[in-house]
């Protein structure tokens, strides 16, 4: 995969559509042989808290749980903002879905600057 798309997710389960669309884009990228990284910041980190994806379903979209499973099956990378977790009382790694990697700003910078393109939701 020569190309890489980094998608930053800042909306949590309170906005199911804006929480779901980044996953749709990321799965479509992977299906198109484009490496995909989902980066969760601010309230977006709630989406990778264990058990949350199962409760998010935007009208006319697949469930977030299905998209998350597809994303992981296709080899996507999940990066989660460390201070954003701390401020919400989410404990890593116990409270996070499998495969979620807790990182800080420098890793996000490295991912975005090495990507072909990036999107922020």
């Amino acid at each position: 995969m020569a190309e890489k798309l980094v998608i930053i997710v800042t909306h949590g389960p309170d906005d199911a559509e804006l929480a779901t669309i980044p996953f749709v884009m990321a799965v479509a990228a992977l299906a198109s042989d484009v490496e995909a990284v989902l980066g969760f910041q601010a309230d977006g980190v709630r989406l990778v808290a264990r058990g949350v994806a199962e409760q998010v379903e935007a009208p006319s979209f697949p469930s977030l749980a299905k998209l998350l499973a597809d994303f992981r099956e296709l080899g996507g990378t999940l990066l989660v903002c460390s201070p954003c977790l701390k401020s919400r009382g989410i404990t890593a790694p116990d409270d996070l879905v499998d495969g979620a990697e807790v990182v800080a700003a420098a890793r996000f910078v490295a991912e975005v600057t090495s990507a072909t393109n990036s999107l922020v939701y």
Binding site: V24, V27, A28, A31, S32, D33, S60, F61, P62, D70
Partner: protein
């Protein structure tokens, strides 16, 4: 991109058919991604989808990943989308 005529599409017997009817975006695309691997080189994958956006989505995907989009036939409440495996 050279599209097949409807007559040509009707004459194709796909090597593999995937039924993605009822699946929302990006489901049909994902089925195409998975399905194309099960088709031999120069073989044809046929994707059934009830999402009207699938036909343009699969066309874009085919161009992106180097497969050959052949065209679409409209069936009863769904589209039959044809892709030839090129690599």
């Amino acid at each position: 991109m050279t599209l097949a005529t409807d007559t040509e599409l009707h004459s194709i017997t796909a090597n593999k058919v995937v039924d993605a009817r009822g699946s929302a975006c990006p489901g049909p695309l994902l089925e195409a991604k998975k399905g194309i691997g099960g088709v031999s080189l120069n073989g044809v994958l046929e994707i059934w989808s009830s999402d009207p956006a699938t036909k343009t989505d699969i066309a874009a995907w085919s161009s992106k990943v180097g497969q050959s989009f052949l065209g679409v036939l409209t069936a009863d409440g769904y589209d039959r989308v044809f892709v030839r495996r090129q690599k």
